[in-house]
Structure formats: C-alpha cells, structure tokens
C-alpha cells in the first residue's frame, strides 16, 4: 500500500485514497499504543487528583457511615487547617528542612562531585562508596540510624563525647524536641547526597576542558576557576538539584514515620505524615484531601519557580 510513496515523503504530502486509508490506520494504531498508559494514568493519577479537589470540599470519611451521609462543607477545611497547630507545625518543619538540608546537601554533593571528578587512581572505588547509601532502602536506613542515635550508649554520642573530651553529650537525639529533627536531617543528607553527587558529576563532565585551559592561560587560580567557570557552567544542574531536593523535602515521610512518628511533641511532624494521619489513621478523607491540595499547590509553586529561574537566564 505504500509502494508509490517515496522514502522521504511525509504521509500528508500525497492526499490520495490509499494514503487516507494509511492515515486512518496510523490513527488507530497510535491510539492503541497510547491507550494502556493513558487509561492507567487517568484512573490512578488524574482521577484521584480531581477527586482530591472535590473531596476537600466535603466531610467524606474513609469508611462511609450510612447514618451520617457525606455532606458538602465548602471551604471549611481550608480555613480550619490554619487553626490546626499540628499542620502549621508540619509545614514549618518542611520549610525548615528545605532551609537547612537543601543548601547543605547541595553544596556537599557539589563538593563530592568535584572531589571524585579528579583523574586519579581508585577514584571509581570512592564514587561507588559514596553512592552506596542511595541504593539502601530508606526504611532500613531509618532503623539502623535509630540504633546509632541511641540516647545513652549510641555510637554517635560516644563519638561526640570522645572528640569533645567529654564536654558534650550524651544527647537524647530522637527523644529531644530540639535535636530530633536535626538528627533526621543529618541522616537524610547521608542517604541522599550520593544521588545528587552523580548528577553534579555528569554536569561537571559536560563542561568543555578548553574553558579551564583558557582560564589557566589568563592566570586564574583554582578558586577563580571554580567561581568563574565551574559554577556558571553548572547553573542549570544546580537549579535542577535544588528544586528536586526541595520537592523531596516536602515529601518527607518514611524517616519520620519509622523513627519518631512525628514526635516528640510534633517536633518532627511533616505535611505528608499529617496527611496520612488525618486521612488514613483518623479516616478524615475530606480534611486530608484539603491538606493534599495545599501540599500540591506548594509543590506546583516550587516547580514554577524553577521554570522562571531557568528561563530568565536564557
């Protein structure tokens, strides 16, 4: 059916009857290719996403009670959530996590990437080791670190006591409202930094070597080369790393669920933990949906922020 067609011609170039049949066939085949993924995305992503908005305006419960039909409550949840001390605390915690973990983890990842970008012996060995925590499940990491953070005899306490000659500690890491969240941050950095190191490493390797040669000819020292060649060249990589770490920080759940359940005194509660507690454990699906919508709007704003920053440069 395509004998008359030249290899380079596009289907729409020759509008003849055999071509029309081909086009119709192409349409059908295309939709057959599209259908499975589209169907799955519709049921399991688009539908619940739309449902979240609808449910957030109702007092829907997880298990429907026949005596108490679901009612439409308008924007009640959206007003109530700001009186919910746990939710406010959760959002503050998420922002605090972003404020501390994003700069620390990003600069540490960049530092590691530069370190393992050297062409010296055994460098692959070190790259491998730095990446190992990434392939370790967060549920496992959280459990192991709980033991390391043991309030009395934990190895982290004894390490701090040793290097401070007994001046500092022992601390009750996960039981102290002031220390529990920083402890979780440190562990999260330990687990996540390798991932970003690899992304930075890929970015570093794309910088043309001539730029450094030119800088050296101009007499730039190592710091100046980093400041005026490496950093500007890594701009888009950095934006990506910062945004993805920020969004990851908002999804924070596994660690706090396993290590502290949000305690002590909501010191480590996060938005996601509160959503699960409200919607799943307390069965208030309507309220949890409203929280989810706010959660989504925050993630959306961050993503738009990324677009704006990336575009303004181009």
């Amino acid at each position: 059916m395509t004998i008359s067609k030249s290899p380079t011609a596009q289907p729409q170039a020759t509008p003849r009857t055999p071509m029309l049949g081909w086009k119709r066939r192409e349409q059908r085949v295309a939709w057959a290719f599209v259908a499975p993924a589209l169907l799955l995305l519709s049921i399991f992503l688009i539908a619940p996403f739309g449902l979240a908005f609808y449910l957030s305006l109702t007092d829907q419960r997880l298990v429907p009670n026949l005596n108490l039909p679901t009612r439409f409550v308008g924007f009640k949840h959206y007003l109530a959530m700001w009186q919910d001390a746990t939710f406010v605390r959760a959002l503050l915690n998420n922002f605090l996590f972003v404020l501390i973990v994003v700069p620390v983890q990003t600069s540490f990842a960049l530092f590691l990437a530069i370190l393992v970008n050297q062409k010296i012996k055994a460098i692959n060995f070190f790259r491998t080791i730095y990446f190992m925590p990434v392939v370790t499940m967060m549920a496992i990491v959280a459990v192991v670190w709980t033991f390391l953070y043991n309030p009395d005899q934990g190895i982290i306490n004894s390490f701090i006591q040793t290097i401070s000659f007994g001046q500092l500690g022992p601390y009750r890491w996960l039981e102290d409202p002031k220390l529990a969240f920083p402890a979780i941050m440190l562990m999260s950095i330990w687990q996540g930094v390798g991932f970003q190191m690899v992304i930075y490493l890929a970015g570093l390797q794309e910088i043309p070597g001539e730029l450094y040669e030119a800088a050296q000819l101009d007499g730039a020292n190592a710091w100046q080369q980093f400041r005026f060649v490496t950093l500007p060249q890594l701009r888009n990589t950095s934006i990506f790393v910062v945004i993805s770490t920020t969004i990851m920080a908002f999804k924070l759940f596994d660690q706090v669920e396993i290590m502290t359940k949000g305690g002590p005194n909501d010191a480590t509660v996060t938005a996601m933990l509160h959503i699960v507690n409200s919607g799943f454990r307390n069965q208030k699906v309507g309220y949890a949906s409203a929280l989810s919508v706010v959660f989504f709007v925050i993630v959306l704003l961050i993503s738009f922020g990324q677009r704006i920053v990336t575009r303004s440069e181009r």
Partner: protein
C-alpha cells in the same frame, strides 16, 4: 608555549595535594560506610548483651566475639522474611516490566506517529510529571478501596495488584522515553515503512534495540523507587502474605523488646542483594541517575 611554564609548578604541588585528596576522600568514605558496616557486623553477633556492651565503642564496627548466623535464623523464625522478600521483588519487578512496555509504547506514538490530539496529550503528560504521588495518595486509597477485581472481591486492598497497577504508567518515564526516541534518526524507520513494516514491528525491531540505555535508565529508576515503597503499602496492606519488606521491617522494628541483632540481620538481608546488583551494574546505575537530571 605556556604549557612548560605551568607544568613544573603543578607537578611540584601535585603530591601533597593528592595526598590531601585521598585523606579527605577516605574520611568521607568512612562517613558513608559506617552505618552499613555497623549493620553488617552487628548482624553477625549472636550475643545481644555483647552488642549492647560494644555499641558505644569502636568494637561495634569490628567482627569481635562469637560470630554466627543465629540472628538470620531468628529472623526467619520470627517473621515470614522470605515471603516479604518475594513480595517486594515481585511487586517492584512487575511494575518495572509492565512499565517499560506501556510507557515506551505511548512515548513511541508521541515521538513518531501522527494522530489527532497528539500535542495536547504530550502537554498533559508533561504536566502530570509535576503531580507527586503523595498528593493523590488519600483519594486514591478511597478509589482502590471500592474497585472490583476478577476474583469477585469488591476492594483492591490487601493484594499484590493494588501495589502494582497504580504505578505501571509513569509520566516521567514516558518523558524519558519520548526524549530518547526523538533523537533516534528517522531514516531506518522510513526504510522499514517502504518495506511495509507495521508500526509495532518498527517499534519492536528497530526502536527497542536502539534504545537499550533509556530502557535501562527507566528500569533502574523505577526499581529503586518501588523497591523502597513504604507510604502506599502502609495504607493498603494488612495481610503479611502480600506485605513488602519495608512494611515488614517497620512491623519487626516495632516488636518490643527490640532484638538489635535480629533487626540488623533483617536489614542486612534487605540491603545485600541490592548492593550486589548495584556493584555488578554500577555503570548503568550511575548513568541512569545522571540522565534523570540532565534535562531540568
């Protein structure tokens, strides 16, 4: 001309700097490794009293005292560990396998075929990347709670499929495939088109073999994500028969009094297989992660 002037000073500076690099890298490597070493070593110590005595000393990182596999045996006796392992593996691998087919097919149609609504569909897929699963988890729970299944049950809770089917289609995977397919030259397919090959044959015999790197990337990223899934199984699974390792670990961890030796043996058995797979296919892992970040 300038080269000889620069080289001598560089060489002169090289060895102390290199020593500094190695020293620094070793210290950081110790930081990366210490929890993993601690886990492996503790798992081998059968005497719980010894573990507690040594936990604050350097001996916690050394295979001291009596070493045995008793803790591992305990884990198998106390919980259906093998079942959890099979569940996690089965769930993650099924998601990866079906995901590769479904997501690459739609990506092929988007990248190569012409059909009505193509541009709109592409825009929708890109927009969907932004929606985090966490934001739809609660309403999705409500949906799967009331979905029928072939065996006549009116809910999807407590099953394998509730942990698999929602994750097969993935907007980000589609996007990765789409970008890769766009960069494959069209000439080969056009030749095949002249030969009367069907679209499916072009996809299966031309595109798929040429796209191994992106298939590996998507497979690894999806596997790492879903192997560690915790939030969703926590909400939809009660029955230990379909419980994955993550939830199993949490339940085991919650049993008081805590037997740290057993817990570390559990953790070791979860970590080692993936660590070995990672060491074998390291290059692929690193490339996958790197390519997830190139297009911001």
């Amino acid at each position: 001309m300038q080269r000889p002037a620069i080289e001598p000073t560089k060489r002169w500076q090289k060895s102390p700097r290199r020593f500094g690099s190695y020293l620094l890298m070793t210290i950081i490597a110790l930081f990366s490794l210490f929890p993993i070493v601690f886990m492996l070593v503790t798992a081998l110590k059968a005497d719980e009293g010894q573990i507690l005595r040594e936990m604050s000393t350097f001996a916690a990182f050394l295979p001291t005292g009596e070493l045995s596999l008793q803790n591992f045996r305990d884990v198998f006796e106390r919980v259906p560990f093998a079942q959890y392992l099979i569940n996690s593996g089965l769930i993650a691998l099924t998601i990866v396998l079906f995901g590769l087919v479904v997501n690459s097919l739609i990506a092929y149609a988007l990248a190569r075929m012409q059909f009505r609504g193509q541009k709109l569909l592409l825009a929708i897929i890109v927009a969907l990347i932004i929606i985090p699963f966490q934001a739809v988890a609660v309403p999705l729970l409500l949906i799967v709670n009331q979905l029928p299944w072939f065996d006549g049950r009116m809910t999807w809770l407590d099953s394998y499929h509730v942990q698999i089917i929602p994750f097969i289609a993935d907007a980000f995977s589609i996007f990765l495939f789409y970008q890769f397919f766009l960069n494959i030259p069209k000439d080969i397919e056009e030749a095949a088109l002249v030969d009367g090959a069907s679209r499916f044959r072009m996809y299966a015999q031309i595109i798929v073999p040429l796209s191994r790197p992106v298939f590996a990337t998507v497979a690894i990223l999806q596997f790492l994500t879903h192997w560690g899934d915790f939030l969703w199984p926590l909400m939809v699974v009660r029955n230990p028969a379909v419980r994955p390792l993550t939830v199993g670990m949490q339940a085991f961890f919650g049993q008081m009094p805590r037997q740290w030796g057993d817990i570390m043996a559990f953790a070791t058995m979860v970590t080692l297989p993936v660590l070995i797979i990672f060491l074998l296919f390291q290059k692929w892992f690193v490339q996958s992660v790197a390519s997830s970040g190139v297009k911001g």
